[in-house]
Amino acid sequence: MTADAHEIHYIFSLLLYQFSTLYKKSTKRNFMNTCRELKRTPLYQIHLDLGAKMAPFGGFEMPIQYDGIIAEHVATRTACTIFDTCHMGEFRFKGASAARDLENILTCRVNSMEIGQCRYGFICNERGGVIDDQILYRIASDEFFMVVNASTQSADFAWITGHLSHGVAAENLSESTGKIDLQGPGAPKIMQKLMRQTVADMKYYRFKYNTYRAERVLTSRTGYTGEIGFEIYGDPQLIRQFFNDCLECGAKPAGLGARDTLRLEMGLPLYGHELDANRNPMESGFTRSIDCAKQFIGSTVVCGPGNVRQTLVGLILSSRRAARAGDTILGDDGTHAGAITSGSYSPSLEKAIALGYIEKKYGIPGTRLQVDTGRQKLDAIVTETPFYRKATCRKNIAEFL
């Protein structure tokens, strides 16, 4: 191999391949986006000023890390971090039959939601595959706010509006909405300092409108890290100001790299990895987000008998050496048992962890398996998720104020 070819290969392996594993399935799409033109969030310049490493994700140029993934991960578990999540999609639906329509579109129960409550659920196609995962906010009995993934946002909106009744107004707010995730045990104090109304009454998976710098923002006690924290939605310029205020209050900026290791330690799915258009969400194990007592698009497949062939499991590897998405999982007799969907070194466990779909018979915690990385076979053991057991997200907020 010539030096030039080698160099190109190495630079690729250093600068691109390292992120292609993180978002393996979207790499091709992202490269195409690079050609098309990547979008930038309102915080783009702040990320550059903070020295972030940027990479394409979901059609946006996003910060992958600032100081380092492990430092940002640990800061989220022990202190407080802020994530730019402006790339995500937001919709609003309003109308007398909005609740009934969403009941048909989503796998989770909608009509039992109280005003001020958030609920996680899936949007399925007729074949019972997952179009996206989302969080629904009930603003009023006839009004809802929905948060979806960046790369699927426009397809989601087209699908949903195609299944709404006449008289239900749908608005895609993705371009006009800024979003920040403030996460970690230090988050409630920072929120309390920056918001006019108290946050002491905020329960897990509940939201309320608050006032920040005399403007209205939507705040929810949700997140993707396992730690107590908030997602804040508002005008993009206002959100930029909020990001800076959080930095001044001592929150550390964290990128998509830490966001991925944090969610992985919690066993949370990432669309495009654990969920996709061909995956029955029942196999993911998030059965509490699927209400088979009602009918919804795809329910005959999702809830049908005999349609759960595989199961999503957590795996703890025997060393720091990680399994990666696409690696084969082998049973103890060497037979093909399934495939890894996400894998990384876990900063909290100081060992490699992974999620993967396997044949149901291998899914019992304690089962010993192997992961074939193509280079070598790594020993792994099936483990209940979350991998990380000390997460604070469900705790009483009073402990943190």
């Binding site: 030039d4 380092g68 720091r320």
Partner: protein, 127 residues
């Protein structure tokens, strides 16, 4: 600053002559690009390595990357510290974070590698 007491390969490894041995590691630019290093598989003592060929794996939080040997020869010794503390490479890529030492080296082969200023120029050109 890139140390002047050693040579550099276009694949971002450095080689420092130490008597009959060549000490090998990766550059500050390489560790910075990889991010937090979590696991390193080094070639075993006695193993033959060849200039420009794969000889191990470096894993960071997000990815596995191939390790290339910048020199040909036989592995004499490896850095045991990296088994338990691979993050040493992030902290001290040019000193405590060395990878392995090679014997039976060919000095003419090492002479063809870049010096510090040529390596820095290469990085600048790649920007």
């Amino acid at each position: 600053m890139t140390p002047n007491d050693r040579k550099y390969a276009p694949t971002h490894e450095w080689v420092k002559i130490d008597g009959e041995l060549a000490v090998v590691g990766i550059t500050d630019h390489a560790q910075e690009s990889l991010g937090d290093i979590t696991f390193i598989e080094l070639p075993k003592p006695g193993m033959k390595v060849e200039k420009g060929k794969e000889c191990g794996v470096i894993e960071s939080v997000k990815a596995a990357s191939d390790m290339y040997s910048p020199v040909s020869g036989e592995v004499a010794e490896t850095n045991a510290l990296l088994e338990t503390s691979p993050e040493t490479v992030n902290k001290s890529p040019y000193d405590d974070g060395w990878f392995f030492k090679v014997k039976s080296i060919r000095h003419d082969e090492i002479e063809t590698l870049m010096d510090a200023s040529a390596y820095e120029q290469m990085l600048k050109n790649a920007e």
